[in-house]
Point group: C2
Chain length 238, copies 2
């Protein structure tokens, strides 16, 4: 099994004033909506700005430290990871991939540009949106072509996490790749190791019960295939 | 003080067969020379390839795991950090900034291109060379202009590290910024917090005693200024 790597780096503007609350057990939870615009290079050499809004959760001491100090529009740097959670709602299995901040750092905004959306919420231009992952494929990739003939592959990645003094956990992440990356990825098979550098994006859709659903997934920028090296090495590597 | 952040991500080819040895105390040390070429965007919209060779050190269990399995040319992913060391040699104070790998993952090379240097050593094209740092400036920045009028700033960054069960350590990193980044950085002062995303580069020079010296430093790609947020918050943040 490939070792687990799971690191998120985000810089954006707080779209709204963050939401602070406490669990009955007294754990502080700070939920932020971070908003930014990524500058992406198009195939034809041009650039395009792609907007994003990501909910980020901060727990405990870090949440308490920042809870009252952050306002709408504040620029922040978040270092964290992706956290997969599943639960039951009305007998139905539900899951989500949360962005969990381990650290938050407010940033000075001199010289930085914000855009404003239709609700008057700020987004940071030239934001940062980067995730590093390593894990194993949970299924064979699905390769398709858009009507324009652009290749797109969807991959399921299982990222293992070993925490000191806690059980091993697995985080399930959906990864999408386009064009050359999609055709490279299509050669992989269930169980293969995969290293991903990508951007976090949001998918939204309407469920069969008419409910609006959201899913955080990864758009691949770079893919690599971890191997065991030239010789066959036995045993776990993580 | 800004909290310490210190993460290195490299993908390159092993320029030579790695060097494995043991200290008298039995600690395994694996020294690798990783070689790659970064694709950088020029101001005029073009691209240029910039080569690098970085020595990377892996210790202990990870070193023993990979020691015998890696050959010249093998593609590897390294996740690690920058480690500052100082010592005395013949009464003279010497220091170096080492690249310390926490994890190494060999990668499959299908579809990947290597270049060959004049010594027949391979370098990986479209390599990965990225460092994330946060720390405080050790001095006021030095801003200069090249004969062509290009702004360049040199910054000294102190990155704190807190290890569980070990003393707090400080890693001193030289950071260089160009053009707009240099002029932005010139406004900073000794003691200010700084967040850096950059590439690792090597400086080499000849000392007054005729010895060839090398220094690993960081070329900035992005700079941000961590603040304490809108309200004055007292106390340490890390």
């Amino acid at each position: 099994m490939a070792r687990g790597l799971n690191r998120v780096f985000l810089i954006g503007a707080l779209a709204t004033r963050p939401d602070m609350r406490y669990t009955p057990a007294g754990l502080a939870i700070l939920d932020l909506t971070l908003a930014g615009q990524d500058l992406l290079l198009s195939d034809n050499g041009g650039e395009r700005e792609v907007s994003w809004y990501h909910r980020v959760r901060l727990l405990g001491r870090q949440a308490e430290m920042w809870g009252d100090l952050l306002d709408q529009g504040q620029l922040v740097f978040v270092e964290g990871r992706l956290e997969y959670r599943q639960w039951e709602k009305e007998g139905e299995r539900r899951s989500e991939l949360q962005i969990r901040a381990d650290f938050l750092d407010p940033l000075d905004d001199r010289g930085k540009e914000r855009a404003e959306d239709s609700r008057g919420q700020p987004r940071l231009r030239a934001a940062l949106n980067q995730v590093f992952l390593m894990g194993n494929l949970t299924r064979d990739p699905e390769l398709r072509y858009t009507p324009q003939g652009t290749a797109v592959a969807r991959l399921g990645l299982a990222v293992n996490e070993r925490r000191q003094g806690a059980e091993e956990r697995t985080h399930f992440v959906e990864v999408q790749a386009w064009r050359d990356l999609a055709e490279w990825a299509a050669e992989l098979r269930k169980g293969d190791g995969l290293f991903v550098i990508g951007r976090l994006v949001n998918d939204s859709w309407t469920s069969s019960s008419g409910e609006r659903r959201f899913q955080t997934r990864v758009e691949a920028l770079r893919l690599e295939r971890p191997t065991r090296g030239p010789a066959q090495a036995g045993g776990s590597r993580s």
